[in-house]
Amino acid sequence: MKAAAVPSGSIRRRLLLSMLALAAVLSGLLYLTVRGVAARAVEATQDAVLGSAGIAIAEELRGSEDGVEIDIPYTAFSMLGAVGQDRVFYRVLIGDVTLTGYADLPLPAEPPSGLTPFFYSTTFQDETVRIAAVERAVLSDGRPVSATVLVAQTRTAAEAIAGQLANRAALLGLGVFALAALLAVVTARSVLAPVDELAEAVRRRGPQDLRPVARAVPVELAPFVTALNGFMGRLSAALSRTETFIAEAAHHIRTPLAVVRAEAEIALRQAPDDATRARMRSVIRAVDDSARSATQLLDHATVVYRTDQRTDEDLDLGDLARSVTQALAPAADLKEIALDLVVGDGPLVVRGDRLLIESALRNLLDNAVKYSGPETEVRLTVAGVAGGVRVLVEDRGRGLGGSQPAALTARFRRGTNVDDIIGSGLGLTIVKEVARAQRGAFRLTDREGGGTCADLFLPAH
């Protein structure tokens, strides 16, 4: 029984995705910040030059009795001209009247006051322009009038520089993101390494290995490993209890039965009359019956328990058949039943659990001996066939007597023609369950010429 875990997403992927998302957000913020700072720096540079130019022009305003006059200082524009291919505009107003320059150059939203320049951006002649506005009071005709100077410049060069800086910022952001992604992968790997190592260590264990996990693990995994160890401890205790229980049960059932049987044999030997003899014989029969049932119940328990807890090894069925035959030979000999073992040539090796397969062979052979009359022959054939090994047990007993083979392999079910022979009805159930545990097949048929043929196939792997 092996149930694979149902995965619900991957910690590694989740960790990686959240770290990448964080890196993307941070890189984006970095890009925006750098680009903003760069744009402001470019603007500040342009503003400084525009401001100086505005102030320089404003300082050239001269008040006189006729009004205000100005001698535009072209050096002021040469400062601006240094900045690329941009066009420069200016406008000088006295009050609301344009003195010189572009009369339609837009005014600031609020009038400037003093020589501290007021900066604003707007559209002029289909181009974005940056404008610096300064104001100065000039004496005209003895009265102070407000003179405003606007100096404007298109933003082509400023935008080009800002664009370049933005590209740098984008490159920087991408670089930071790439670095962060790399770090995220490395971090995810190193964070999850103990989990991977633990999983691998548990996976490498054999099915019989129930020792506690001894490796050092991070504190976060400690509760999991503690729980796992506790579980394995309980499982191994339960399993060894089962094994001990089976052995103890056998001992406690069989020892008193042995006493009863010995005493009954003595009583039978000393029986004064036929009635006592018959009684003693039935006692012995009952003892044999219980002993057999006990054996098969314990065998069955062992088979069920071993099916979950099997230890597979390469087994030579020829050797196994020999040892089972040898064990049963004296019992067969008492009935003068000849056990004929035919072991075929070639490899007769199957992979399986020794106890399971032995139980199956013993029960098959024991059945055959039990249901055969005296002075007959029971043949056990072990032969290699395609994909595995076939074991045939043929007897000259009473056959199936019309019972369905499926009915005979059911638990506690016996044939209809065997009431005079003791049995528990578990023998064939054991064989069938072993066949299933080994992914083999078991078939029971009437044998030609009388008797039964039990056919057990065990796959090599």
Binding site: R254, A258, R261, A262, D288, D333, L334, E358
Partner: protein, 223 residues
């Protein structure tokens, strides 16, 4: 034959000893491994019947020590476990055979015979009656230089009759000892085996007489 029975269950030991003595065997009982060692130091046995779970140790350790000390007294282990792998493990430790509790004494006898046959070969246990030589280990009768093989039931029947020459054994008695309780047979089934044994005895001075209405006895006519 002389057995050493090593078994800590007093009831079982008493019953087994009583049952074996019915067949004319001598049995000494040891309730622990220490007692068993004492017995082995002072007497010679034909066979040791050994339990596995004993109060002062594991019977398998005893077996291993027994074999290390190169003692060759055969050992049959009495076990409560029936798996063949237990048997293989026991045989590996040096047991000559094993028998599962509760046991049929006829089967025990058969196993003892097989073990002794493997250990000593023939000759040691030859018995003679009239002009017959009988070897229970190889199951053969020698009549006037001619060796005849006995089948299992013929052998057991002959052993029973030979245990009390001229004593009358009833059909029922013989039946009880020749057939297991699981076999439902009538007392007359014994006649078949008596007939066969008589044929094996042909030409010798030993013969099986029918005592009408009572049973059979083995007698030998003097030369």
């Amino acid at each position: 034959m002389r057995f050493l029975l090593v078994e800590d269950n007093a009831d079982l030991a008493r019953s087994v000893a009583a049952r074996l003595s019915l067949d004319g065997h001598g049995v000494d009982h040891a309730a622990s491994l220490a007692e068993a060692a004492d017995h082995l130091a002072t007497a010679a046995y034909d066979l040791i019947l050994l339990d596995i779970m004993l109060p002062d140790g594991d019977g398998r350790d005893f077996l291993a020590r027994h074999r290390r000390e190169r003692r060759d007294t055969p050992v049959i282990v009495m076990t409560a476990r029936a798996a063949v792998s237990d048997r293989v493990a026991l045989l590996d430790t040096g047991a000559d055979d094993y028998i599962t509790k509760p046991f049929d004494f006829a089967e025990l006898e058969a196993r003892v015979r097989a073990v002794l046959r493997r250990k000593h070969g023939a000759a040691q246990t030859l018995r003679t009656f009239a002009d017959l030589t009988f070897d229970p280990l190889t199951a053969t009768l020698t009549v006037a230089g001619e060796t005849r093989e006995l089948r299992n039931r013929e052998l057991r029947l002959f052993e029973i009759l030979l245990s009390g020459p001229d004593r009358i054994f009833s059909k029922g008695q013989l039946c009880d000892r020749l057939f297991s309780a699981a076999e439902a047979v009538s007392d007359n089934a014994i006649e078949v085996y008596v007939g066969r044994l008589r044929r094996k005895l042909d030409g010798s001075r030993a013969r099986i007489e029918t005592v009408r209405g009572v049973g059979y006895k083995l007698t030998g006519t003097p030369e």
